[in-house]
């Protein structure tokens, strides 16, 4: 069984510890995982802007890179959804390599729960945690039930994993799955609305008594973290892989130099 790690571009460049934590988490589960070099981006920024011609070669590169692996694991619901649900436009119908990568790419929590069937990890994480449901993981991959739908009991994969940590406690925001306002290029195209959405989310998590917002997508957290640091709000953000590895809470300092 060959398993490849698919690391989104912004995680590679700005949040390497998220990828390291993902790698360590998988290795701890006994998965022999490799990181194929030469990875860049899945093409989502181009695709979501409408630039199909620019997205196509990037999507095809990714498929070439991963086509020879049995399984591909990605610590992002959004990039996984891009491959699983939005790649068809960039390939010939029935393209075998594309079909293979599409059906063998998993978001991290989904992989841990559905493929590996991991039980409680027991890692200590004595903090008050609130979950931010990243939209693409929620409504494209259905990693949990969205608040709009009435599909009966659908397990929340991220929460299920987090509940297996020792000492974890919960803070519950009033709006369980409202978008944070990142939205890729939306964050700059519609900067005013994006920022307003982010601030509202942060206020909700803060009022719930959260110490740390946890999400499956670092891109949402990059946006929220940017707002948190600018305003000096006493709240941290962590990717679920970092939490599952029991990483310490980041310090509340503004890391940007001035």
């Amino acid at each position: 069984m060959s398993v490849a790690l698919f690391v989104p571009c912004y995680i590679d460049q700005f949040y390497p510890d998220v990828a390291i934590a993902t790698l360590e988490l998988l290795e701890r589960q006994g998965v022999d995982v490799v990181y194929p070099q030469g990875q860049t981006c899945c093409g989502q920024p181009m695709a979501n802007t409408g630039c199909a011609d620019q997205a196509t070669p990037v999507a095809r590169r990714l498929v070439e890179l991963f086509a020879d692996y049995d399984q591909v694991v990605c610590p992002s619901g959004s990039c996984t959804a891009m491959v699983r649900h939005h790649y068809a436009d960039y390939f010939e119908p029935g393209d075998a390599k594309y079909e293979k990568v599409r059906s063998s790419t998993y978001e991290l929590c989904e992989y841990l729960v559905d493929v590996l069937g991991v039980g409680p990890l027991g890692t200590p994480f004595p903090h008050r945690v609130s979950i931010h449901q990243s939209c693409h993981g929620l409504r494209e991959l259905r990693l949990a039930a969205s608040s709009e739908t009435r599909c009966g009991s659908v397990p929340d994969k991220m929460r299920q994993l987090l509940e297996g940590l020792e000492g974890i406690s919960w803070a519950t925001p009033q709006r369980s799955d409202e978008c944070c306002g990142f939205g890729g290029t939306f964050a700059v195209n519609e900067a005013d609305v994006s920022v307003a959405m982010g601030r509202d989310r942060i206020a909700d998590h803060l009022a719930a008594g959260s110490e740390v917002i946890v999400a499956g997508d670092m891109s949402c957290l990059m946006h929220l973290q940017g707002l948190i640091r600018r305003s000096g709000t006493p709240l941290s953000v962590m990717h679920v892989a970092q939490v599952l590895m029991g990483r310490p809470l980041p310090q509340h300092t503004t890391l940007s130099h001035s």
């Binding site: 690391v7 571009c9 912004y10 995680i11 590679d12 460049q13 700005f14 949040y15 390497p16 510890d17 390291i20 790698l23 990181y35 070099q37 990875q39 860049t40 181009m46 979501n48 802007t49 409408g50 630039c51 199909a52 620019q54 990037v58 590169r61 939005h86 436009d89 939209c135 693409h136 409504r139 969205s146 709009e148 009435r150 709006r175 409202e178 978008c179 306002g181 939205g183 890729g184 290029t185 939306f186 964050a187 195209n189 519609e190 900067a191 005013d192 609305v193 920022v195 307003a196 959405m197 982010g198 940017g226 707002l227 640091r229 600018r230 503004t254 890391l255 940007s256 130099h257 001035s258």
Partner: protein
């Protein structure tokens, strides 16, 4: 449907001067004619978002409605099944629309209605005017009809000397203010009750400073009663037209459609051709979904069935309007949007709509469904709308007829790309990014340099008013090593 309540109501700040550019035009009185050719959603949303208190009020009011909808959806165990069935009925009705519309026409005629066909807004307005002229009508009362908003009927008739009174309370409020509705179900949701009080004081003579909802509603009721009694014709929208019976169904909360059609001898019902459903038994699926999705009520207060004219002395005219719908029907990608039952649930749930207000969309139908429909009639004018969306997908999950709204918004972006409609500030960065992402060594080198620059060069180079990311947000702290550098160093 008409479920408008004037309260709680909020409006975009009516600041004058500060943003007097073309982007302000949506908030200007009856501004469609003065709007720029290319409409820019973020610019038109700016003032609304900047007034944080008001924006939060608007957001809270609509979120309250969304919560009521959730509670109602939970009350029906087969909710998701109902949505699925509704979607299937609509899909089938759209596919068979030609046959069903003819069947409807025959059955409606058999019941004594006169059926007219209008290929576009102009033809619709001409038909309405002809009917009114033939009956020497000078005073028309209207109940809620987004189609007549789409056709700009009021202005057309007023220019020809006909008094048009919108009788839905929310619509009457915006009509008195010479504004357009900001929401298809809650037309005055952008207004505060104090502003409604001012408007009523000015137009209806209510006490100055009075803002008690009950007092204002009673004043509107008395005012409208006079209009109903003097009206010579009544115009309504249509929520559902049933092919097998030839009947039409109109859903309101205020009973204004009933009063407006029960008194005058002429009833004109304007319907988009997508309102057709095959059978009476299909109706129950939609009436169960409509009000629950729209306002979180189990059903609208009035669900009125019309089968031909009221009596031998009355006339019922049904105008079936295309106005771009057949063209939309040709599109594999966007066809499903014709299934929309105009419940407004996508607006209530949309985090962008709640924070930018309906007028920022600069179109009759705002919000997610509006952003799908409007580009089909004018893709240049409305090309910013599919980008007024974070692709969160909440609209898709809330839609009672399962229109894949956020995927259609994404599809519009791709369509703009194919048609060469994307501006250079969108295409150029994506060209650059694509070039970079095709060259892994270059990507790594640029990443390394950029991170080093962010660490060592003055902050002002990255955090300034030209950088829309860092205007309100810190940039991520750049690490010395990327993951791929770390991996090469530690795992090889």
């Amino acid at each position: 449907m008409s479920a408008s309540s004037p309260l709680p109501v909020i409006s975009p700040p009516r600041s004058t001067g500060a943003h007097a550019g073309p982007s302000r035009s949506a908030a200007a009185p009856l501004a469609h004619a003065a709007q720029p050719v290319v409409h820019d959603h973020p610019a038109m949303a700016r003032d609304f978002v900047a007034n944080v208190q008001r924006m939060h009020w608007h957001d809270g009011a609509l979120w309250f409605v969304r919560n009521k909808r959730d509670a109602q959806a939970s009350s029906i165990p087969e909710w998701e099944y109902l949505r699925q069935v509704a979607s299937q009925i609509k899909t089938s009705a759209i596919a068979r629309s030609a046959e069903l519309l003819e069947q409807f026409e025959q059955n409606a005629q058999r019941l004594g209605a006169v059926v007219h066909w209008a290929s576009d807004a102009q033809e619709h307005n001409r038909i309405v005017y002809e009917i009114l002229r033939r009956h020497d009508v000078h005073r028309l009362v209207k109940s809620k009809s987004m189609l007549t908003e789409e056709c700009h009927l009021n202005g057309f008739l007023e220019e020809r000397g006909i008094e048009v009174v919108d009788t839905d309370l929310g619509e009457r409020i915006v009509q008195l203010r010479r504004e357009t509705p900001s929401h298809i179900v809650l037309p005055a949701i952008h207004l505060k009750k104090e502003e409604v009080g001012e408007t009523f004081h000015e137009h209806l003579g209510t006490d100055e400073g009075a803002s008690d909802p009950q007092y204002l509603t009673e004043a509107a009721r008395q005012h409208l009663r006079g209009k109903f009694l003097r009206a010579e014709a009544g115009l309504t929208g249509v929520n559902f037209a049933i092919a097998e019976t030839g009947g039409i169904v109109i859903c309101t909360n205020e009973g204004n459609a009933d009063l407006g059609t029960a008194l005058p001898p002429v009833h004109i019902a304007s319907m988009g051709l997508e309102k057709i459903i095959p059978k009476l038994e299909d109706l129950g699926v939609f009436t169960r979904l409509l009000a629950r999705s729209a306002t979180g009520q189990p059903i609208t207060t009035y669900t009125s069935h019309f089968h031909g004219p009221r009596d031998a002395a009355s006339e019922l005219h049904i105008i079936i309007v295309d106005n771009g719908r057949t063209e939309l029907r040709q599109s594999e990608t966007f066809r499903a949007a014709l299934g929309c039952i105009r419940c407004g649930a996508c607006m209530n749930t949309c985090p962008v709509f709640r924070r930018s207000g309906g007028h920022s969309y600069g179109a009759t139908v705002p919000g997610p469904i509006g952003s799908v429909l409007n580009p089909s009639s004018d893709s240049v004018r409305h090309k910013s709308l599919p980008y007024a969306c974070s692709l969160c997908g909440s609209c898709t999950d809330v839609c009672p007829v399962k229109i894949p709204l956020h995927h259609q918004l994404l599809a519009w972006r791709k369509e703009f790309g194919r048609r060469g409609l994307l501006s250079i500030d969108k295409t150029l960065p994506m060209r650059a990014a694509s070039l970079l992402f095709r060259r892994p060594r270059l990507y790594r080198a640029v990443g390394r340099l950029a991170r080093a620059a962010m660490r060592s060069l003055p902050r002002a180079l990255f955090v300034n008013r030209f950088n829309l990311w860092s205007r309100d947000r810190e940039l991520p702290a750049p690490p010395e090593e990327s993951f791929s550098q770390w991996y090469s160093r530690s795992r090889k």
